[in-house]
Subunit: 223 residues, 6 copies
């Protein structure tokens, strides 16, 4: 059955914005090393960093009809996230859809498939994380669903979950855990500041983290 779920829960916007500041690697660690999408999901240009609520899309291979449907569901601060129902790298999305999504307040796109018009998207600063850049066109014949749970690039994403994305890739945070994760991530950043200074001054991680004893105990030999 193909459905569009119109009212989804989202995390608090201020929490989402705090997650954006922390970035993917820190958020991933803060929530117990879970939620990463596969490493093949790469940004089309470097330097974008954001967090946003996911509008999820389950779409057939080579059919981008549901993107038009999904765009109507966007609220400012959302991000589109598309998972094909079987592996596909076709170019589901280009500059016209980006123009439309931007007009609705969309912050970007995460797609386990292809994207095209990347020169235009880069000029517009519309960030995309994708499996491929591919001009291959798609059709509009078969239904999918919008705002249902999907598996995208190996991660389980529900509508309204928080997507954090930067040059390191993409991470999903459960919307109900967003605040707790933001707190832990911020604490982690604060702790790292101190360590960064000590490491920059030449102290060794071996000493800062007190590793020498345990290494010897495990049997490490210096020769």
């Amino acid at each position: 059955m193909s459905v569009v779920v119109q009212n989804i829960e989202r995390a608090d916007q201020s929490v989402i914005d705090r997650l954006a500041v922390c970035g993917v690697a820190t958020v991933h660690e803060a929530q117990g090393r879970k939620g990463l999408l596969a490493s093949y999901m790469r940004p089309i240009y470097t330097g974008a960093r954001l967090a946003a609520s996911a509008i999820t899309i389950s779409a057939p291979p080579g059919d981008n009809w549901m993107l038009h449907v999904a765009i109507e569901q966007i609220r400012p601060g959302d991000i589109l996230l598309l998972a094909p129902t079987s592996p596909c790298e076709d170019g589901y999305f280009g500059d016209l859809l980006a123009t439309s999504a931007s007009a609705r307040g969309c912050r970007g796109l995460v797609i386990d498939a292809g994207v095209r018009d990347v020169a235009d998207l880069t000029a517009m600063r519309f960030p995309v994380w994708s499996r491929a850049v591919f001009a291959q066109g798609t059709v509009k014949e078969t239904l999918g669903s919008v705002n249902v749970p999907v598996v995208c690039a190996g991660a389980y994403v529900r509508p309204g979950d928080v997507i954090v994305a930067d040059d390191d890739g993409v991470c999903v945070v459960l919307r109900e855990e967003a605040e707790a994760v933001a707190k832990k991530a911020e604490a982690r950043m604060a702790a790292e500041d101190d360590k960064r200074k000590r490491l920059a001054a030449g102290e060794l991680g071996l000493d800062i983290y007190d590793m020498r004893g345990r290494l010897a105990e495990k049997g490490l030999k210096y020769i």
Copy 2:
């Protein structure tokens, strides 16, 4: 048999230049969604966009001898296109060959294999779309052919066919269809301009393309 075909037909230069303006995604759509090379063919630097007549090269794996032969066949406005006879990612081409090709008026290289000296090629603004960046050297021992039809990255290319390439990848246009495709591509661009304005103003594709009825008919449920 190894041959060099010296007189090939090319499309009209003014038509080729019009195709360059349209770009890969638009040209691909305009000619009925055909002609794309595989998505693994990526540019060594972003921002290049061109169209040119193909000088095709069929070369053995790890042997770049035929590139020297092909360069003599270049006329200003041509592009080299190399397909190895079995999968190979060796670095067939570097800055010396680019210097030579440029001196003959060559616009770039499409190679279903590797390329090297990419920092130099980027500095020279000699555009390359390749399967790999790899410094692996090649030999000059075994013949291939120049200006014969080849399959390059999944696309069938004949000498003199028009190659369109940009950040989205590479597309081939049959030389005898070049003018008709250019017209359709330009018409498509004009039509997109209008749609882009309406989408930017917040109109939805669902309405512009009148999709709601057909979606309902196919069974899409809003919940």
Copy 3:
């Protein structure tokens, strides 16, 4: 057995610096087309070019403990080179480790696995050549070894061997051959300068390298 070898031999620093000037493609050719790491080893940003002595690390999949151990072994002018004991793309290394390594005079990292915090590493101009960019965190539970011979991305590397890396990828030079290779690479560069001028002036490689006779003899037909 897990070991840290503390005193390793290195090539002469002036020789290492000469190899950096030559770059990967030239050094690879000069030493007889050997020593390249696989083409999937890509830089996290373009434009870095260096040569350095390898501090080698053999580490379990998903465990970056040995990086802390290895950093203590760095002398100014070294580079870290990590090979996992089975295929892994986890993010073993990020900005804190880069800060620590930099404080010890480290010139960069070559890792047949993943790296994270690439925006920070780019801002720091800490160069990394890796198989993947991936935020996936690692543990510190299982020993590996430092400064033992490893196979990294298909190349055999011993501690103290010279790593040359640039936008074309990564090459290893045996430390005892470094001087001889530098000489040959420099000779090659000098010879290329002359050829580059002639090619830029429009002379053909077919003539400069006197290939026409041998091509005919092998049976190449012009039609």
Copy 4:
């Protein structure tokens, strides 16, 4: 947090057995073309066909400790299903673990990683669907979880969901949908029997499914 969930719900055994009879392709179609694991999940020998309740395992890369924990949770008719927390093809499982699992009534293993001792497993007729065959050993240092939801080879699997597997691959059925899916799958098989006879007699799908009109309407031309 690492947990072992000890009491999980399972589908009715008789329903599970009916799903085994239907096989992967039919079950996948019957439940609306969802639930397939990626095509890289291949059986270690041909001819096995089964359905079973999933004991799910989330395990670190290169660490098979949780398999020992999971085996205690097996009830007769279950299958082990392991998803690593980052991509890994190490050989987590071999003949000793298979002996232990068999003694508990385990029907097989689905693992998005590697398996070893495949000659022994084949001789034992212990079926395994895996991403790789690889002898690489693992450690027992880091915790994971047992009987928590996982994403395995692109499919979301909860403990107690029904796994159907045969030479075509692996499919997951939600335990609460198992009975409805079995019914639809059986109906599908019955309908296929009739069609198979007509097709074997030389009738065409074009006629049986009444496709000619719609093909013409879409514009198909016979030339």
Copy 5:
């Protein structure tokens, strides 16, 4: 434009049968080392060896409608060959289609995508060479074409060209070259018989092919 070409030329059946006897490796060599499909095209069971005339199919990703259309075009001794218009591994073909195709005299299937029901197909001895085994279902919404030239797994195939397939993979022979290739292939086989006997008796290829002088001349050193 979507078309079905109904009258295609085929090679002589007796020639086709002679090519089947020679097998893929010999035919590929006999025709000058061309025509091989990519190595990822593997048989679903070992031991099949055939030659047949290609009924070619160009189909959209995830849409198997054109297979029904193509089956009507089969004459006894033909083989179906499907190339998707963008990369796809969905299961376009299963036991019902095989039943229908067999009833028309079809010898097998070559598909640069997925196949399912492989246990049934194996029991039927209906040979398939495919990119993947995958149960993923397809739709019947978008037209493609039948009996037009396609690029399949890297090889250019025209309708009526001869497909040779065995455990080594798949090779295409131009229908107009089929007889000449068969002769060369048979001559090659005859010559190999003699060599096989001499090699089995312990003579070395170095001597039979008189390689020692040329090896020395090229600089090979025995140490």
Copy 6:
């Protein structure tokens, strides 16, 4: 420089035969989890298990000349092991070379490239572990070396090192460690026999290996 090293050291034949009995997984564990070739190295048929001394071959891509040279160096009980100098999947080896190698007492082939005539090789019971099955022919134009150290599928192999291969893949044992590894592997097998009996009787690994305390200490929660 291209060389053929004619006198290489080998491990004792009785030790080699003992390693064959142990198999890949056990030998790999016994020598400290090192020496495995990549998991993509697969046997062309199941059921072969052997150990043999390596005759190593470094060959250019697409050039099998050195195989003829290497066959002369075979002594009964050896195995050929070929590593191309850049990635290649061409079919370097087929039934004629197998006939010749067999006549010299060769036990099989390990090749990080392609092999062809696999139906014949299977009928001959000539075992091959390869990266690909591919009929693509090769040339005899460029020298390589025989009996020099190579990196093959990620493992460093010296001439005379012991290759162990079975359905799990391929492992290399340093010839000077062969006896010690055989002893450890045999001890491991003996120890496994006891464990296998206890596991078959229903005892849990958790108890046999006394894991419960350490799991609790690490924080595993049963819920």
